[in-house]
Subunit: 195 residues, 2 copies
């Protein structure tokens, strides 16, 4: 396989990149000064060398603790459980949450062989048993698997004492009812609040 | 800047990759074994080291001559002039062309400072003056700049003797007239052929 074909193949493994896009990327790099491809290569090597999971929560970091766990002003009594490290970014960008996180690294998915052990559920339970956590917010995705994961975790967490909550379901801000699916509307009705 | 931010920035330079896609790519790689990112890094380095323009036509190759110029069965009397190396691939995939190529590496674009010197037009003329070329097919893009480039080249090439042609304009195969723009229909009428 030629160097071009090999790079096309490697680019194609990235999410959202089909073979045609991969070819465009390769030709783009061939038109640019070689430093550009080398800078990308260098950044990839750095990623594998420097980034690892936060010792505390599993979020990605270059240090021992991630920026959230390393921030003394965060409320350690409030623990938000998410599926993936990028979910931490999504919640942080919303700018409302002042607690800490726990990254599962996936969701229960028996068909893919992902059970409680693969998700390191024991590590989560150990954190809660460790004490001081008033509330666990289960912020797994609103998908079938995310929901199943939340229900499973709730069964384990509730007996340990903390309040166990999940994110509200409802109409996304800014959307027209006309385009919202029926199950979301049903959830929004169910969860309706006094004005 | 952290290793993650730097890689997001480098990915964002690729065509068709916005900041959000770049973030997804980085998180994808962080979930995979590090070998995957390193294989991509290696492929990028290989690209810059091994790939260079074909001595004859300017197409990209790992050898001295590209696969077309190195093929003794190709008709050296027929020269197809394209803007970019990836246009060679597009024509080759069509499977009908048996001549050789000349890659300009761009199109005339005075606003971007791309004139005849930047395109190496002299190298093209030298090939034609060198003799043995019966026909030059100007296969620049059907854009305003591609068209201007073809007209400019035709003016230089015709006095040298070879037949100078360009790709037919017309209705793309498989498309409904309803969705074809007016100038294409006008060109198709202009170029209509006996059945």
């Amino acid at each position: 396989m030629s160097a071009m074909e090999r790079l096309v193949q490697e680019f194609s493994r990235l999410p959202g990149v089909g073979p045609k896009t991969a070819v465009r990327m390769v030709f783009h790099l061939l038109k640019r000064p070689p430093e550009e491809a080398l800078r990308l290569a260098r950044a990839l090597e750095d990623l594998t060398r420097k980034i690892h999971p936060c010792r505390e929560c599993g979020n990605f970091t270059e240090d021992e603790l991630c920026s959230v766990c390393g921030d003394p002003s965060r409320d350690r009594g409030l623990l938000c459980v998410v599926e993936e490290a990028f979910d931490v970014g999504a919640i942080e960008r919303a700018g409302r949450y002042r607690g800490v996180y726990h990254v599962l690294g996936g969701r229960l998915s028996p068909l893919d062989g992902i059970g409680p052990e693969q998700l390191g559920v024991e590590r989560l339970l150990a954190r809660v048993v460790g004490g001081g956590i008033r509330e666990v917010i289960l912020a797994t995705n609103a998908s079938v698997e995310g929901e199943a994961t939340a229900v499973f975790l709730e069964g384990l967490l509730r007996p340990l004492g903390p309040r166990v909550t999940r994110l509200a379901r409802g109409i996304p801000v800014g959307s027209d009812l006309e385009y919202v699916d029926g199950s979301t509307i049903a959830e929004a009705l169910e969860g309706r609040r006094e004005m």
